[in-house]
Amino acid sequence: MNTIRNFCIIAHIDHGKSTLADRLLEFTQTLTDKEKHEQVLDSMDLEREKGITIKSHAIQMDYLYNGTTYTLNLIDTPGHVDFSYEVSRAIASCEGALLVVDASQGIQAQTISNLYLAIGHDLEIIPIVNKIDMDAAKVEDVKDQIVDLLGCRRDDIIAASAKTGVGVDAILEAIINRIPPPVGDPNAPLQALIFDSVFNSFRGIIAYFKVFNGTLRKGDMVKFFNTNREYDADEVGILRLKMVPKDSISAGDVGYIISGIKDSSEVKVGDTITHVDRPCDKGIAGFEDVKPMVFAGLYPVEADDYEDLRASLEKLKLNDASLTYEPESSLALGFGFRCGFLGLLHMEIVQERLYREFDMDVITTVPNVSYSVYTTKGEVIDIHNPSGLPAPTLIDRIEEPTIRAQIITNNESLGSVIKLCIDKRGVLKNQVFLTTNRIELTFIMPLSEIVFDFYDKLKSISRGYASLDYHIEGHQVANLVRLDILLNGEMVDALSTLIHRDYAYNFGRRMCEKLKELIPRQQFDIAIQAAIGAKIIARETVKALRKDVTAKCYGGDITRKRKLLEKQKKGKKRMRQIGSVEVPQQAFLAVLKMD
C-alpha cells in the first residue's frame, strides 16, 4: 500500500486538466506512441468538443522512481457544476489533488469550490501553474493567488506546461513524495466506494471503486450497502487504458467490478461495496441519492417517433443514472416525456446525445426546477411540471430549491454582478477578497433563477471574467404563480411557467413579444396573451397575412408552383397546431431565447 498514490486533478474548464493527464500517461509510458491521441480521458466525442469531462474516469499508471515502482491512480473528475456530487465522490477516493491553474486566467470559482471540497477531505494539494509557455502567462501573479488561497509556500507551486512537458517530472515526483499513501486494512471487512459507473453493451454496468478496507476477490459475493442488492463479482480488475482483470483488489487501490448488472440505477455513485458474508458495519460516509434538479418535457419532432424516443431514453439511462424520465402528454406537443436532469448542461448533453447517438430530434419545453407544494390538507407534492400545480385554493405554500452560489469576479464588474444576483432574488451572504482584484461572492439564490440565462449574463456583464459554482442549499417559501400563454384564447400547456409573482408581469410581456417574433403570420389575427389565472397581463397580436399569393399560374408555372407549395406544406407539417394556430417548434423554446 505504501507504493500506491491516489490523486485527482482539480482544474477549471480549459485550464489544461486533460492535457496534463495525457502527459502523465505518456511520461509513465502507460500510453504508447501508437495509442496517443489527444485527450485520452475524454472519451465521448461530446466531451472532447465541449472541452469538459462529463463522466469521470480512472486510470492506473506505473512509475519507477528511485528504484521503486509506484502505482499511481489518477481519478478524473467531471468538470461541471451539474456533476458536483460525482466530483465529491472522486475526491473522497483520493489522498491528494493536483490543483491546476491556468497561468493566464488565474483561479476560477469552480476551482475554488472543488479545492475546498478536497481540503475538506484532507487531501494533500499540489498546486501547479499551467500553460507557462503562453504569452499571456502571469506566472507570478497566479502564484500570488495560490499562496493567498492555500497559505502554502511559494516553492511548493510547480510551474509547468502540460503542452510542452515542462515540469511534468516535477509533478510526478511531487505526487510520490508529497501525497501520502492510502491507509486501510486489507484484512478488515470490505468497504469500497463506488465513484463512477459506465455502461458497456456487452458487459453491463461496470462500477469503478476505491477500496477503503478489506480485499475484493474475483468470484466474491458482494452487497451494495445502500441499495442492499447482492451480486457475484464476475470480474474485478484495474483500469489501464483498457480494463485489466485481476484476482483481487486490496485496500488503498482503485479498480472496477463487473457483476452482470443491467440497470444503471442499481449502481449509485457514493454507494459502498461490501461482502455478503462478512459485511462492514456501515457504509462510507457521504452517500447521497442524487436527485434531478431541472425538469423539462422532451417531445419527438415527429409524433410517430414517440416509441423510438422511449427506447433511446432507456438506452441513455443505462450509462447515465442521473437522468430520469416519465411519460407525459401535452395538448400542444402530443406524447413525450418529462425528464429530470442534474442541471442545464446535463439537459443539453442529453439532448445532444439523443441527436447524435440515436438520431432523435426532440422539442424541449421550458425547463423548470422541482417545487414542493404544501397543500391545505397538509400533503407535500413534488411538482416537476407547471401543469401539475394544484388549484390555487388548495395550495398552502410552495417551496423552491435554493442554491449557494459562489462567484469569483473582479473589482470592475463587482457592482453589476451583485446587481444581477440581487435581480435574480439572490441574498449576499459573504464577500471575500482573494487578492486585491479578485472577490469571491457567496449568494443564496433560488435555483430557478439560474436555470435560464444567468450564466450567460454573468459572463457578459463581467466580460467573461466572472466564474460561477453552485451547490444545492435547501428550500425556501416562494411566492410563485403559474404564468400561462394563450393563443387565440387557447392555453398552450407547453408554454406555462412557474414564476415569482414580482417577475410575472415583465416576464409575460417579454414572452408575448418573443412569441410574436416567432409565430408566422397566418390567415387570421393571432392574439398572444400571458395570463395568471383568469387575468390577462400582457398581449401581442400577430396580424393576419393580407397578401399571400403569386399572380401567375399558367402552363409553364404549374410544376414550379406545385413544388413551392409542397415545400411550404412540409414546413407547416413541422409546426404544432394549437387550436387553429400553427406554432413553429422553436416557439416552445421562446423563453430560453429571450434577452
Binding site: 390567415q523 393580407r546 397578401k547 399572380a551 399560374c553 409553364g556 404549374i558 407549395l565 406544406k569 407547416k572
Partner: protein, 375 residues
C-alpha cells in the same frame, strides 16, 4: 380535347419585370415558323386527345412576326390535328405592333381573340416598366381591333407597382372598363429572380409597396370589375360571361396541351415536359429530331396536388366527390377537414358541391392551397 401553345421568344426590348423566356436578337426569326412546323411533325403524337379547342401564341412578342409566318404555323396545326368547330385562337400582341392591315390579316387567318400587353394607361408606369408603347397607343390599339372586328379582346394590367399609386391604378381600371374589352388579366407585380426590377429591389433602389396597398388595389380590382360585369374567375383573370380565356382555363382544368417553341411546356395528363430555354438549344434539338429537354412523370400525389393547386385558384374550386372517386375516400376526408377549417375562417365557401376560395380572398390563397396539398 386539347390546346396548343406556341412560344414566340422574340422581343424588341425586354421589359424590366418579365421573366418569360425571350431574346432581344432576331436570330432564327425568319425560319421560326418552319421550325415550329418541324417540331409539330416531331411531336404530333404527344397529345392523348383531340380535337384542338384552343391555340395560343404567347411570348415573347408574337406580334413581331408577320401575318404570313403566323398563318404558316396555324395552317400547319390545322393540317396536323382535327380542330374543333369553334376554336379559340389567341395572339398576344404589343399595342404598338398593331395597325389596321395587320389586324385585318389576323382576322383573315382565323384569330378570334387578342391579348394586348397594355400593362398600364399611365405613361410614367409604362416607362418604369420598360415598355415600348405609350398610353395613347394602347387605347388606340384596343379601339382599332374592336372596330375592325375583334369582339374578344383581353388586356393585361399590372398593379402593386412601386412607382405608382392606388389612384393611378383606379384610373387604369376605369379606363379599361370604358374600352371595348371582354377580358382582363391583372397581375400584381412579381419581383422575379434575375429580372432588372428584382435587382433594383435587391439593391434597395426600389421599395415594393406596402402589403396594405397591395390589398387595397386588389380589392379595387375585384370591386370595379364586378360593377362592370366582369367575373373574377381566377386569381389574375377576369372576364365577361362567355369570354373567359378558354386556353388558360384549360391549364387549370387538367386539359392536355402541346407547347411548341423554346421553353414551352407541355402536359398530357400523365407527364409534363418542357423545351430547352434557349433558342439555339431548341433549334439543335429539332434538327437532331428529338425535342423534349426534360420530362417529369406525374405520380398520383403530383396529380392530386396539381388538381388542388390549379382548381383552388379558380371560382370553380375543387370537387370533393371527384377526389373521393379518383384518389380515395381518405383523401376526401382529409380535404373535408382542411376545408372545414377554412370555411370557419370564411376564406372558403361551398358552391354547389365544390369548395372554392372566395374571390375576395384570392389574395391569401397560397397558404390555403399549401394546406390542402397531400404529402
Amino acid at each position: 380535347m386539347s390546346g396548343i401553345y406556341i412560344h414566340v421568344p422574340y422581343c424588341k426590348r425586354k421589359c424590366h419585370y418579365c421573366d418569360f423566356f425571350s431574346v432581344e436578337d432576331a436570330r432564327g426569326m425568319n425560319e421560326f415558323a418552319n421550325l415550329i412546323l418541324e417540331e409539330l411533325r416531331l411531336r404530333k403524337d404527344y397529345l392523348p386527345t383531340e380535337p384542338i379547342e384552343t391555340v395560343y401564341f404567347g411570348g415573347g412578342t408574337p406580334s413581331l412576326l408577320t401575318a404570313d409566318r403566323i398563318a404558316t404555323m396555324l395552317n400547319g396545326i390545322a393540317k396536323t390535328f382535327s380542330i374543333s368547330p369553334l376554336p379559340e385562337i389567341t395572339l398576344e400582341a404589343n399595342p404598338d405592333d398593331l395597325n389596321p392591315g395587320y389586324i385585318r390579316s389576323l382576322l383573315d387567318i382565323g384569330f378570334n381573340r387578342l391579348s394586348l400587353g397594355v400593362q398600364s394607361f399611365d405613361d410614367n408606369d409604362l416607362q418604369q416598366l420598360g415598355r415600348r408603347h405609350n398610353a395613347k397607343q394602347a387605347t388606340n390599339a384596343v379601339d382599332m381591333a374592336s372596330q375592325l372586328g375583334f369582339n374578344n379582346i383581353s388586356i393585361d394590367l399590372i398593379y402593386g407597382l412601386p412607382y405608382s399609386s392606388t389612384n393611378v391604378w383606379e384610373s387604369n381600371l376605369r379606363k379599361a372598363f370604358r374600352l371595348p374589352i371582354q377580358h382582363l388579366s391583372c397581375y400584381h407585380i412579381i419581383y422575379e429572380e434575375g429580372t432588372p426590377l428584382q435587382r433594383k429591389v435587391f439593391m434597395g433602389r426600389v421599395t415594393p409597396v406596402d402589403e396594405a396597398v397591395s390589398v387595397e388595389q386588389f380589392d379595387l380590382l375585384h370591386d370595379l370589375a364586378s360593377q362592370n360585369g366582369f367575373i373574377h374567375y381566377e386569381i389574375s383573370n377576369l372576364g365577361k360571361e362567355g369570354y373567359f380565356s378558354r386556353h388558360n382555363t384549360a391549364y387549370w382544368k387538367q386539359i392536355p396541351y402541346l407547347g411548341l417553341g423554346p421553353s414551352a411546356h407541355s402536359y398530357n395528363k400523365t407527364s409534363r415536359a418542357w423545351n430547352p430555354r434557349s433558342v439555339d438549344a431548341w433549334i439543335n434539338a429539332i434538327k437532331k429530331g428529338s425535342i423534349e429537354a426534360e420530362n417529369e412523370l406525374l405520380s398520383e400525389k403530383d396529380i392530386l396536388n396539381e388538381y388542388l393547386l390549379t382548381s383552388l385558384r379558380t371560382i370553380w374550386g375543387i370537387d370533393n366527390g371527384y377526389i373521393a372517386g379518383t384518389f380515395g375516400i381518405d383523401q376526401a376526408n382529409r380535404i373535408e377537414r382542411v376545408a372545414n377549417k377554412y370555411m370557419q375562417l370564411e376564406i372558403l365557401e361551398k358552391c354547389d358541391s365544390n369548395y372554392r376560395i372566395k374571390p375576395k380572398k384570392f389574395i391569401v390563397s397560397d397558404g390555403v392551397i399549401a394546406d390542402f396539398l397531400t404529402e
